[in-house]
Amino acid sequence: MAERRLAQRQGELIDRSQEVSFQWEGREVTGYAGDTIASALYAAGTRVFSRSFKYHRPRGLMCCSGQCPNCLVEVDGQPTVRACMTPVEQGMDVKHLNAWPSLQRDFLHLVGRLTPSFGMQVGFYYKTFIHPRRAWPLYEKILRNAAGLGKLDPEHRRTERFDKVHRHVDVLVIGGGEAGLEAAAEAAEQGRHVALVEEGLALGGQLAWGGPRSNGRLTALIERVNAAGVEILQPAYAGGVYEGLLVPVFQGRTMHRFRPAELVIATGSIEQPLVFGNNDLPGVMLASGARRLVNQFRLMPWEQAVVLTSSDEGLAAALDLADGGVNVLAVADSRRGADGSAIEDAGIEYLAGFQPWQAKGSKAVTGVVVTRDGEHRTLACDLLVMSGGSVGQTALVSQGGGGIRYDRDQRRYVPDSLPDGMRVVGAAAGSAAAAGAVPAQAPKTGCKQVVCFCEDVTTKDIALSLDEGFSSLELSKRYTTVTMGPCQGRMCHRNSGLVIADQLGLDPDSQRVGVTTSRPPHNPTSFSLLAARGYEPVKRTSTHHWHAEHGGKMLWAGDWKRPYDYGDGDSEVDAVHESLGLIDVSTLGKLIVRGPDAAAFLERLYPNRFGDMKLARVRYGIVCGDDGSIIDDGTVARLSEQEYYVTTTSSGAGGMEQWFTWWNAVWKMDCEIVNVTSTIAAFNLAGPNARTALSTLTDFDLSNEAFPYLGAGHAQIAGVPCLVLRIGFVGELGYELHLPAAAGEHLWEKLMEAGEPHAVKPFGLEPQRVLRLEKMHIIVGQDTNAESNPLEAGMPWIVKLDKESDWIGRYAIEWYKRRGNRLTLVGWEAQNGGVPIEGTQVVGADGQPAGRITSSRFSRRLGKAIGIAWLPVEQSEEGTAIRISDPKGSTIPATVTHKAFYDPDGERLRS
């Protein structure tokens, strides 16, 4: 290991005194603390890190900065980890991703080489495997087996803790290169609270990896930043810039949701590959990648290097590499007029005007052919350093709403307009050295010239797509998948744009080429990180724990958890019919409407009439939408001249509050609406013994004369101030008590005590459904849908078309009245045979759906299956025989009925 490292030098990241061992492909590898997985493996002699997505070509390190896909590996079961950005840790288990049986010998690579060259050309799967149709499932299996990069463990469970932090700072700087550090220091020195995010292992960007010359400047800058009190998150990455400058930053297992007042984008630039034959061979590296290995990890694995460049960046790289100890044989500069004297002064051959033609070698570079005016020169080397110039990393700018345009002079993309609060500094803003001319059309060398390293898209693929008529960047991109891989175009966006523009004979900024949209997230981010610590709020009533402790099966009901039953729903139904039951209905929505216009307001909202209501009375009401459909129901009690107490369905509470306040805002009426759903608990004490039991807890006169059906009154019950509503959703004598939720548990227990002599039972949602169905009381949302109007729902009596005021839904309901009903909501009963399942259909003579079963239960009390259905009017006469479908294919005969099944005249309610 040691012999592969160069002598110790300032600026290196490794700590040679501390060895770290980990597993690579099942064998132990030892590196130094401070190594990345990639650098440690490189030091240990690894050259092939991955196999490419489609052709399974061997791939080695290229960018060493987390941009390209070449070093994706699996670490401790996590697929697609970038080895060049991940520090080594003792004992970690690192494996290759996309190869079988091994990285060195990959079966699919062999297949790719054996099949003719058109075999896997771009779009091959659109043109093959079409006939015969029945063979497609087999073909698909083969395709699916070959697909995908990493593997997910189907048994994986997230066990570590992930967190989410909400952060507000004055300034957030993304990027810890020179420009970012300076911007951060400057802002912090002005007294602003500044956080800086850097994804790499070292601060300083090019100052850090660009060789020892800049070490002094970097040290001073970091001291300045620290002195100014800049908070540094590192390694951490910005996941994107979203609306309102929301920047999620991921560090370890924590998501920081930053909302800075000012956002500084200092993301630098990304060096671009050159396009030439076999430009993806292991041993072909970006200049910045090679310099990182030499300067930061002190690796010297090569005998001799050739530098290919189209810009001054490559010249600087050649000098730096030579200075770092690399034997640089030659520099081939595709420009003719550039100044290569510094290269020659360093004793390196300078080949002006030479373009790269093709790299030699099969699994590793053994040489390179460069060309000028038809003249070819072959140079032997084991490292090919390429520099196609850099493009500003502007993805975050465009994600945040900034504009990007192509700069023809610089041949790259630069920010054009910025959203409020965003600033771009450094190379991302376009201040880096101009990218030189890139050979847009690489020579046709007969071997693969890779444009997109993630997706294995070559110049030939792009040319084919254009020939076939996919003649724009967007179409070619979708056909070839260029730029759509894990690097999100970092390595191929510019080059593919140039190749396409050149082939179409268009400018890179023309309509058909242009700039593709940069999509968040900025880096691929795991579900575990994004999910962070999940919160799923659940609403619980004041007596939730009592129910749970007394056998209540707590199930979701909208946002709430409610007891389904307490273990024996049948006996709970019986208790209500025969003696006494108690149910928690605190989930009902509860609104207070108060003010001089309260009555007029309700008159406009409901088809019912409320203005004429007497004090201390309660009335059932429905709410309709503009289209006349039923959107909610509940009761309205008049507490005083100017105050109404409105209940809504449990699931409709939020929506109704919005509905009420919306219309109040529109109409500007003199009343106010208060949602008291959570502060008020509600219990329904129901059954023939309800009066007797409740009387023991209150002085309030509950007699039928003093407090008849549909009465509403205030009472002290067991010391708790209650609003008592005498209503009967479940069909027996009942008192619905509304009280401060804080006293809920107390009163519930008192009621249970008072009911003890009557063998009171708490009853759950399911028994309540049976009880209400026996009374044919509908449940809005179950027995009605978005198109149910009150006329068809059998409630014409509720619609007061003679009301003097207008009301919501009136126009539509008048229209429905003129048209006449098409459907109608009726009851049905099935004496012999099964119990239909809710959701099954009433079958017409043609065997097709003619109606819908919305409710169905077996009533033990009545000894038959009963339910509610929507039927065409012509089939809805009392006594009509209908057939109800069953999933098994048979039908269940039933008879239509219009009256409540139980106590149709409501005598028990009024008793």
């Binding site: 697609t80 093959t128 079409i130 076939e468 994004l530 097709q848």
Partner: protein, 403 residues
């Protein structure tokens, strides 16, 4: 393999002519399918398909590629079933492999209310001949072992609607397949051609104005999805639509291991894995309306949180890219298709989150409408005039989950 040896030119560029028999606005799957069936079944070949951007730039290229027919209303189920049937032979009909992967579709129910809705869909489906049934946790486990069917999740799975023919398809390939066959029959696809006006005289369409010149024609079909209200404004045809954004995202490709499409209305998520290995996912439409196409972070946060509850194995999977598209929602969650009050102006709009899966049958029926002059039975329930007649097709129960 033979196909690979041939040289193809799938799409040709043309000069814009001064008149066509039919002008179709929108070169997405709907517009191109319509052009294809018009040429193929009705011999109408002087057709221009205009698009202000590239082919398939809108909803056709942004949807999450799910094909299914397990709708709630009989009208909806019959219509989409006809579409699935066309999809099943589309690769052969258009000689272009669309990678239609029919491995089944599971809509999960986490509450007894939603079990009822599933049962209603299953029964309607069964009666109209759509393969769909309610399954319970044991069978769900067999169909999709990766799902957590225990009671550990916040919202345990109680049942599911299982729809075996449901599947995913390569959406761009549908656009290109229709496009190339239409092109072959002489249909002209004009990309980057912006319609700036529609000319109407005496209640009849006479032509369209574009940035490349005026075209005379007496039939114009609007197949522009999220831009329908804007195009209809050009002729003064009102549409009862609101436009919302819908978001989707995709992971890095991993070895395929999920072959079912999983949908959960309660958790507002759905997921499938493509033949390339990417998980493709989405959620509900955003509640606000507008033409902002900004992706939100909240979307992937919530989606990830719910997704790993359902499929814990996804913890290590990485979201690669998110995007948005426009959806036009009609009052009854059903589309609006066919004749309007302007003679010669045909609309194909209101596709909410279910337009892509209808592409073949839309093309087929709209072409029949133009070719025969009669509105086909299948699309009669979705006619534009139903909003005046208040004869709606309430599809909310099956369409509210946006996929």
């Amino acid at each position: 393999m033979i196909g690979l040896l041939k040289k193809h030119r799938y799409f040709r560029d043309h000069d814009l002519k001064s008149s066509y028999d039919v002008v179709i606005i929108g070169a997405g799957a709907h517009g191109l399918a319509t052009a294809y069936y018009l040429a193929k079944r009705h011999g109408i070949k002087k057709i221009a398909v205009l698009d202000r951007s590239y082919m398939g730039a809108g909803a056709s290229g942004r949807n999450t590629t799910i094909i299914r027919s397990n709708y709630l209303t009989p009208e909806g189920a019959r219509f989409y079933e006809a579409s699935v049937k066309l999809y099943e032979s589309l690769s052969q009909d258009l000689n272009f492999n669309m990678l239609f992967s029919q491995h089944g579709h599971l809509t999960l129910a986490h509450s007894d209310r939603s079990v009822n809705t599933m049962m209603e869909r299953a029964e309607v489906n069964r009666l109209v001949g759509v393969d769909s049934r309610v399954v319970y946790p044991d069978e769900i486990k067999d169909l999709c072992p990766q799902l957590d069917i225990s009671d550990h999740p916040t919202f345990p799975i109680l049942a599911a609607l299982y729809h075996p023919p449901g599947g995913v398809i390569r959406h761009d390939a549908v656009v290109w397949g229709y496009g190339k066959e239409a092109d072959k029959m002489g249909v002209e696809i004009h990309q980057y051609t912006d319609v700036t006006g529609i000319n109407v005289e005496n209640g009849k369409v006479t032509g369209v104005d574009t940035n490349r010149g005026t075209i005379h024609c007496d039939t114009v079909i609007s197949c522009v999805a999220g831009w329908s209200t804007l195009v209809c404004d050009l002729v003064g045809v009102p549409l009862p639509l609101t436009t919302h954004i819908l978001q989707a995202c995709v992971t890095e490709p991993v070895k395929p291991l999920l072959d079912k499409i999983i949908v959960s209305g309660t958790l507002h998520i759905y997921i499938s894995q493509s033949d390339r290995g990417e998980f493709v996912m989405g959620s509900e439409i955003e509640p606000y309306s507008g033409y902002s196409n900004t992706s939100t972070f909240r979307f992937i946060e919530d989606l990830a949180m719910h997704m790993i509850e359902l499929l814990p194995m996804l913890g290590h999977a990485k979201i690669l890219r998110q995007w948005t598209g426009y959806c036009d929602v009609s009052p009854d969650y059903s589309p609006i298709m066919g004749l309007t009050e302007v003679e010669g102006f045909i609309i194909d709009a209101g596709w909410g989150t279910y337009g892509f899966k209808a592409s073949p049958i839309v093309g087929f029926t709209i072409a029949d409408l133009i070719g025969t002059g009669k509105t086909p039975e299948l699309i009669q329930p979705f006619r534009w005039a139903r909003f005046y007649e208040n004869d709606l097709v309430s599809e909310r129960g099956a369409a509210a989950v946006s996929h």
